[in-house]
Structures are given as structure tokens and as C-alpha cells.
């Protein structure tokens, strides 16, 4: 074989090897970029979907207030709202699985109508309020309880005004306080010893008129029994400014049904009921605050207290994102929304293929 042929074969081999290596390296380098290019509009698409949920009332537009209606198209906006990102209090409450008229995730997904994405929605107040009982002292016929209060957003301290109510049996009282710039404060309430049983400290913290959060702390007053978990004695489902009560035991007796906001409290009147259920009319309060509805009652020898917020928060509905594989891409989007004049944080997480 002539020397020139060997040269050509060698040159060709080296060229093929180099070209193949270059193509392989280029392909490996470019693949993530090309993938990103094909999903380049995902975030923008998810943004549009999130805005559709928040700016559209759904079909029919009154699906929130009527428990019989399952929406044909999904949207949480308050119908004919003059203000964007204003959500319907009943549509939001029907996303809470503790509400007797809640939608399932499957119903939400079907009404949403977008087949190739999963979603998870969360609604909660803009900052956190935590309450802890630190001491109590009995003097005469009354007991005074002192609570430590902390207001924070993540780890950032928040200075806030506090409005707290105590309810035990048919006794209701209100105290005001505040937290300092370090986010710490203290609240003391005094309860007559005759109003013994499970009591609730209903607390609201407010930074500005629209930025309000809440906490409900159950404690045992002049009684040896520890408070049962909320929902043990009755299921409370607020909808369409009616509190629907479903009793867990047949012989329960209601002592007091009260609604609280930051500035106001009213006793609710019963509008219907039998020995299994009851309905209470909820006043249309204009206060920029979530409403807390509390019911005290008797079951055999137990004095109980149950409560629910309206809108029924916090809400977490949707796909379980804890066990997603590497092929899934989660895009979280957070918005500030208004429900009954108070501001909340709405987070929607879209799940699609990477």
C-alpha cells in the first residue's frame, strides 16, 4: 500500500473521530439550553393561568355561595369586583377540605380544564401570629391568664396592634394590646371562675387597616380536662354568610355562638336546626378582618368550644409535591389578594414536565 493511501486513511479516521467528539460535546453542552428554549414560555404561561384563576369568577359566577354547584370553569375572583385580585370569600372557603361543601382536587382540576399541568394552591394571612399561655393566677372568683404573643413574617419581627377576645361558656370579653418592634407582646385576660370549661383566646393582629392575621388558642379554664382538638364536638362550615353546624353527638347543647373581627363582636342568631344540625346567620361585617366564629356548648359533662374562620383558612389544596421526580418542574407564583377588604398571600404552584 502506498504511503499516501495510509496518510489519507489516517487523516479520514482522525477527522471522523474529531467530528464525532465535537458533535457529542456540542450536543451535551446544548441539550440543557435547547430544553430550556422549548420550556422558555412555561413561566409566562403559568403566570397567565394564575391570573386567570385570580381575575376570573368562574362559571357560574355564584358557584361559591351555592353548595349544590360544582363550577364548570374554575376562577376565584369576586364577581363584578371593581378591584383586581379580590377573591370571593365563599369560593375560597370551598377550597378548604374541612368545609362540608368543599370541592375535591379532582373537581378543581376538571373545572380548571388544563390537562398538562397539576397545581397546588395555598392561601394564608400575610404574617404569623403565635400565642402561648405563660401563667395564670386565681384571685377571688376570677382567674387571670397571661399569654405571650409573637408577630412575625418568616423570621422577621413585625410590630402590630392586637385585639383579643376571650370566650368561655357564655362569657365574652375583649382586650387590646400591641407587639413591639421585636415582634413580642403580652396579653392578660380575666375570666370568672363560674364560666369554667374549655375557653378560647381569639387574637387578631393588625399592621395596617388591611393587613390582619389571627390565632385561636384553646385553654382549660377552672377545669381539669384538657381541650379536645377543634372539630371533635361539631363540624363548622361557613358559607354564604351562614354558619352550618353539624353535631358529632346527639345530645349536644349550644351555649353561645359568637362572631369576632378585629373591631367588632356579635352574638349570632340561630335560623334553623334540629338535633343533628344548626344554622346561624352571620352578619355582613364591613371590618377589614377575617371573621372567627366560635361556639361554646355542653356535651354530657364536657364544656367545649369550637371555632372556624371565615374565609376558612389556611387553605392547602392540590397535588402532593413531596415525591416529585426529576422530570417534574414546579413553578411557584405568589400574589397578594383581597378577601373581604383584608389582604392575604395566595401561592399557586404549577407542576409540569421539565
Amino acid at each position: 500500500m502506498p504511503a499516501s493511501s495510509i496518510d489519507i486513511i489516517l487523516a479520514c479516521s482522525i477527522m471522523i473521530m474529531l467530528a464525532s467528539s465535537a458533535m457529542a460535546i456540542t450536543s451535551m453542552t446544548l441539550t440543557p439550553y435547547l430544553n430550556e428554549l422549548s420550556h422558555n414560555n412555561d413561566v409566562e404561561r403559568y403566570e397567565h393561568l394564575a391570573k386567570y384563576i385570580l381575575l376570573n369568577p368562574g362559571t357560574p359566577s355564584n358557584w361559591g355561595s351555592d353548595p349544590e354547584i360544582v363550577p364548570n370553569s374554575f376562577g376565584l375572583a369576586f364577581a363584578n369586583s371593581p378591584h383586581p385580585y379580590q377573591l370571593d370569600i365563599d369560593k375560597v372557603s370551598r377550597l378548604n377540605d374541612e368545609n362540608a361543601y368543599s370541592l375535591t382536587y379532582l373537581q378543581v382540576l376538571e373545572a380548571f380544564g388544563v390537562r398538562d399541568v397539576g397545581l397546588r394552591m395555598e392561601i394564608k394571612p400575610l404574617f404569623d401570629l403565635s400565642v402561648d399561655l405563660v401563667s395564670n393566677s386565681t384571685e377571688g372568683n376570677e382567674t387571670t391568664y397571661t399569654f405571650d404573643v409573637v408577630t412575625r413574617k418568616s423570621e422577621l419581627p413585625i410590630s402590630a396592634q392586637l385585639s383579643c377576645y376571650v370566650i368561655s361558656r357564655d362569657y365574652v370579653d375583649n382586650v387590646v394590646s400591641s407587639t413591639s418592634s421585636s415582634g413580642n407582646g403580652s396579653v392578660s385576660v380575666t375570666v370568672p371562675n363560674l364560666a369554667n370549661g374549655t375557653a378560647l383566646l381569639v387574637s387578631f393582629a393588625r399592621v395596617e387597616t388591611q393587613i390582619v392575621t389571627f390565632n385561636v388558642y384553646p385553654f382549660s379554664h377552672n377545669s381539669s380536662t384538657t381541650p379536645e382538638p377543634n372539630g371533635t364536638f361539631m363540624r363548622l362550615s361557613p358559607l354564604n354568610y351562614t354558619l352550618n353546624v353539624s353535631f358529632s353527638y346527639p345530645d349536644e347543647q349550644v351555649l353561645r355562638a359568637q362572631v369576632f373581627t378585629y373591631n367588632y363582636t356579635f352574638e349570632m342568631t340561630q335560623t334553623a336546626g334540629d338535633n343533628q344540625t344548626a344554622e346561624y346567620s352571620v352578619p355582613h361585617l364591613l371590618d377589614a378582618s377575617p371573621m372567627i366564629m366560635a361556639i361554646t356548648g355542653v356535651n354530657a359533662s364536657s364544656i367545649f368550644a369550637e371555632w372556624v374562620s371565615y374565609p376558612q383558612l389556611p387553605i392547602e389544596i392540590g397535588a402532593d409535591l413531596s415525591d416529585l421526580g426529576a422530570a417534574a418542574k414546579v413553578v411557584p407564583l405568589t400574589y397578594i389578594v383581597t378577601i373581604n377588604s383584608a389582604l392575604y398571600e395566595f401561592t399557586v404552584k404549577f407542576v409540569g414536565s421539565r
Binding site: D7, A11, I25, T29, L30, K153, L156, I158, E208, T209
Partner: protein, 138 residues
Amino acid sequence: MFNKKGQVRMLEAFLAVLVIFSASIISIKFYPPTNFDDEKMLSASGMQALIELDSNGTLGRFIDERNWPAIRENLKILLPVGVSYNVTIYDDAMHQINDSTIGNGLKGQKIVSVEYPCVSQSSECHFYVVRLQLALVG
């Protein structure tokens, strides 16, 4: 054994591959920055926070009262965690009117800026421009 023709062909092949590979690498460098979405989200969050703060006239009232700490406290709650920000407020002649810093120390590689026109709802109508600069910390 090897003649000069073969060596030149090898050199040609090597150069050709080098040219193709360089072209690919250069095209990657011109790809748009991947944090584009972060910037868009940041400016959307900032604008929404200002709109919500002003929805019942609160922002205008704070500016009328020159209550800069209140603006700082409210934005601390309304903006997402992990965002640093700085607010500058101008009057209708575009003169800065806040005499102290409103923010938490603006720091971050990419800073986005949103401007929000605000009209106070007091008996005297005042016009302001609120410039909010935001950056992702870390």
C-alpha cells in the same frame, strides 16, 4: 512514510472541527440570561405590593404624613421574603421628598425598578411618583 499532503489534510480537518465547535460555543454565549423570569417576577411583586398598599389610599396618606417608617413596615410584609428594596418618593416636580432611607438595604446582583404614580386622597390632591427598586438577596 507520511507525506506532506496527508499532514495538510489532517490540519484541514482539525481546523474545520475547531471552527464548527467555536461557532457553537459562541452561539451559547449569546443566549439570553436565564434569570429573566426572576426579574419579571420581582417587578410584578413590587408593583402589586404598591397597588395593594394604595388600594384604600393608605400609601398616599403615609406620604402626606411623611410617615416613612410605616411605608417600610408595610412593604416588609407585602414583599416576598428574600427581597431587598429601596423606595424613593418624588413630588410632581420630580424632587425627592423622603429625607430618610425607606428600605432594608438594597443588595443583589440584578436590581429592577418599578415606578408607581400615587395620588393622595386628602382634601388637597397631591401627586407623587414612588420608585421602588428591588433585588433578590443571595
